[in-house]
Subunit: 319 residues, 3 copies
C-alpha cells in the first residue's frame, strides 16, 4: 500500500487492489463496523451527469462510515462550468472550475466527482481534462465516480464480485465483449475493466467488431479477438458492454444485433457468468434469458458498489 | 392486524385503519417517542413524478423514527424506466424496472414509490401497472406515495384529520365533491378517499357532473348524487377534488365554474368542514373565502401527512 | 441586540452586525462547538432559483449545529407558485404561496428561502414581493438566501471577511465597482453590500457607468463616482459586481470592457484586496491575474458563508 495515495482515480497496483477487495468484503459482512471512522467528516458528491447506482451506493457507503454525504447535481441544480484556463467567459458557462472546485474543496473533507467525456473533443477526453481540472483545483482528496476514461469504483466492484464467485485455484478466463447499443457510449467502463482485470493478473480476452479497438493504454496485455464466438469459448466471466469507436472517435460503426449476448452465444461456455455494470438495454445488449437466469451477476455487482465505495472512502480517510 | 402485511398500498381493513390512526395520533403528540426504532435502517423515496408534501412529510416521518431517508427524483435525476416485460430496449428508456427495482431493493430496507397514471393507457393504469412492477421486482416492503389509482397515505391522513375533528357520537356525513380544474387530473386521491371512508364505516355521498363516475371498485356503497346542492346539505365533511373522466378515460368533460365550492354552496351545511389534499387551484376548485376561513382543514390534513407516514413506516418496521 | 428579531432578511443594526460577526468568527475556530444546540430541529432550505455556495454552506451550517437540513428545489422538483393574493388559478401556477408556505412552516422549525427578482416587474421586485409572501404566510422564522433586493448572508460573510483581513486602526476605504456582464443581473448583492458596509460604519464609494445608479434606499451615505480610476485610488477593499440598470429597470446599458477590474485598474491602489461573491465571469468582470493573485479574497468570502449562516441560524434558535 502506497500510504501517500491521496486520490482514487484508477488502478494503482495489485497490492492495493487486493487490499481494497479484502476490505470491501469485510464491510459486506459488517457494514457498520467502522461507523465512527468518518464521524464529523463530509463528502460532497458532485454529478455533472446522471446517476442512480453510483449516487445511492456512494451515499450509503459514506453513511456506513458515519459521514455526512451531500449530493450536488451540477448538471441541473447548479450551472454550466467553464473548464478551460484563460477563457473569456462571455458565453454560456457561468462559473470557472478553478473557483467552483476550490470552494467545494473548502466545504468538504472528501470530494467524489462524475464527469463524463464529451465524445466530441477527443484530445480533451483522452487526457481526462474535466476531471483533471477538479483534481488540479479542489485541493482535497477526490474519488472518481466515472471520468471521461475510467470508472474505477465500478471496476473495483467487478473485481470484488469475481473474487466472491470464483473459488477455483486456476486463473479464470475473463472475456470483455462489445455489445450493440443505440447511442454513442463512453469508453470508461470498458477501459477500467480492462485496466483492473489485467492489473490484478487475470487473463483477458477482448472481443469486438473491427473498428472498435479500445485505447491501448488500457488494453495492453489483453488478447484481441474479433470473432466473438471464438472469444467466448470456455469463458468463466463474460463482461458485456457497449462502447463507441475510439479510433473514429465517438462514432457508432455497428449496431449488428448478432453481437447481443444470448444463451446461444454461450453454447460453448457452460460455466460462464455474465456481468454488466447497468443500466443495461435489455434485448439489445443482453437477452432477457441471460439477465433473468443463473448466469447473471449484475445484481451482485450493483450491491458490491456500496462496499467498493466504502472500502475506498475508508482507505482515503486513513491517508 | 394482519401481522404478515408487507406493503402499504391500499385500505386493508377497518381494524388496521383504526390501529394506524391511533398510532399516528400518538406520534403527533410525541413525534420522537420511537426515535430508536428505525436506527440504522434506510428508506429510499423514489419519485417518478413531482412532489412537495409527500416528499417532505415522508422524510420527516423517517427521521422521526431515526431512519436515514434518501430521495431519488427519477423523473429528473435518473432516467426513463422501461416498464414492459420482454421489451426490446432500442428506444428512449434507458433501464428496465426489473433491474432498477432489484438494485434499489438491495440498497434499502424500505422503499416508498410515487408512480402516477399515464391517463392515456387505461388498461395499464387501472391495473396499477407501473407501481405493480416495483412491487413485483424490488423484493422489499413498499409504501405507495401515490400510484395510478390510489394515494393511501393521503387517505390515512384524511381519516386521522376527521377522527381528530369529529367528537360527536353519531356518524358524520361525508361528501366527496368533484371540482373544476384546467388540467386532466388522476383519480387516485378520489378513489382512495372513497375506499378509506367507506372502509372505515362512514356514510359517503359522492357528487359530480354526469360522466364523472369513478371506478366502481372504489365507490361501491357510496351514494352518487349529481345535484351538488342536494349532496352538500347538512354535510359534516366536504372533500373537494377534481378528477378527469374515468369512463371517457382521462378526458376533461366539464369545467363548469358553478361546481367550485364557495360559502354559497355550503349555505345549507352550516357545520361543514372542508378538506382538500393540496395543491389546490384557488378560485377554481375552491374559493379563497373557504380556504382562508374556519371551515378549512387543509393545513391540518397536510400536517397529518407526517404522522400518517410515520405510523405506516413504524408498522412496516414491525412486520 | 434586539431579542425579539424573528427573521433574518436584512441589515438591522451595527450592534447586531458586530454580534453576528463575532459569533461567526468563533464558529470558524470551532465549527462544532454548539453541535447540540439545534438537535431535533429542522431547517427547510427552499430554492426558487439555482444555488451552489448558498445551498451547501447553509446545509453545512445547519449540520454544524446538529440540525437536519432538507433542501427543496422548487424551481425544478416542485412546481410554479402563485404569488398574487386573490388570483384565479386557471393558468400555469399550481399552488398558492399561502398554502405552500403554511405547509412548509408546519413542517420545519426554520425556513431559509431564495427568491430572485423578476427583473421585469419593477414594483413587485422593489417591494420584495415574492419573499414577502413567504414571510407573511409561513408562520416560522425565515432566513433570506437572497431575495429580489437583498442577499444578507452574503453581506454578512463579506463583513466577516473584511473584519478578518483589516487589522489597522483607521477605517478602511471600501469601493464597490460595477463590472461588465453579458446577462441582466439582479441588484441584491450590490444593495446588501452597500447596506451592510454603510451600516457597519465604513466609508463606501460606489463607482459605475452613468445610468447604473442603485436604489437610493441602500446607497444613502455612499460617495457615487462615475470615474472608476478615481474611485479606486488608495482603496483597501474593492468589491466587484455587475448589476443591471435600476432606473431603466433590468436593462443592460453597457458592456464596456474597460470596466473589467485588472491589475492595471489597481495601479494606484497597491494594498487593495479584491472581493466578489461568486460565481464570477472570468476575464469579463475580473481578470484572471486578479482572481489568481494575492489580492483576491473570493475564496475566503465563500468559506465564510458557512459561518455567516451558522451565526444567523444560531441567533434565530436563541430567539
Amino acid at each position: 500500500m502506497n500510504s501517500k495515495l491521496k486520490h482514487f482515480t484508477r488502478f494503482e497496483s495489485k497490492e492495493l487492489g487486493e487490499q481494497l477487495i479484502h476490505s470491501a468484503l469485510e464491510y459486506k459482512l459488517d457494514p457498520k463496523k467502522d461507523h465512527q471512522k468518518g464521524a464529523g467528516k463530509r463528502i460532497g458528491c458532485i454529478f455533472l451527469n446522471p446517476s442512480l447506482r453510483t449516487r445511492v451506493s456512494t451515499q450509503l457507503a459514506a453513511l456506513n462510515l458515519g459521514m455526512e454525504p451531500i449530493v450536488l447535481n451540477m448538471d441541473k441544480e447548479g450551472w454550466a462550468l467553464e473548464m478551460r484556463d484563460g477563457a473569456v467567459m462571455n458565453k454560456g458557462t457561468v462559473e470557472h472550475i478553478k473557483d467552483a472546485a476550490a470552494v467545494l474543496g473548502s466545504y468538504f473533507d472528501l470530494l467524489a466527482i462524475r464527469a463524463f467525456p464529451t465524445l466530441t473533443h477527443r484530445d480533451e477526453d483522452i487526457n481526462d481534462f474535466a476531471f483533471g481540472q477538479f483534481l488540479k483545483y479542489s485541493g482535497k482528496p477526490i474519488i472518481s465516480l466515472e471520468s471521461a476514461i475510467r470508472h474505477p469504483l465500478q471496476s473495483l466492484a467487478d473485481q470484488i464480485t469475481m473474487k466472491e464467485i470464483f473459488a477455483e485455484k486456476r486463473k479464470p478466463k475473463v472475456v470483455l465483449t462489445w455489445a450493440p447499443h443505440i447511442k454513442a457510449i463512453p469508453h470508461a467502463v470498458a477501459n477500467s475493466f480492462a485496466e483492473w482485470t489485467l492489473g490484478m493478473g487475470h487473463e483477458l480476452t477482448i472481443t469486438h467488431p473491427e473498428g472498435y479497438e479500445l485505447d491501448q493504454r488500457f488494453t495492453k496485455g489483453a488478447t484481441i479477438e474479433t470473432n466473438q464466438a471464438k472469444a467466448l469459448e470456455e469463458a468463466d466471466f463474460v463482461y458485456v458492454k457497449n462502447w463507441s469507436s475510439f479510433n473514429d472517435y465517438g462514432k457508432i460503426l455497428s449496431t449488428d444485433p448478432s453481437w447481443m449476448l444470448t444463451e446461444d452465444s454461450l453454447s460453448h461456455a457452460p460455466k460462464a457468468k455474465v456481468m454488466h455494470c447497468l443500466p443495461v438495454r435489455r434485448n439489445v445488449e443482453l437477452s432477457d434469458e441471460i439477465l433473468d437466469g443463473n448466469r447473471s451477476l449484475v445484481q451482485t455487482q450493483a450491491q458490491n458498489r456500496i462496499f467498493a465505495a466504502q472500502s475506498v472512502i475508508s482507505y482515503l480517510l486513513d491517508s
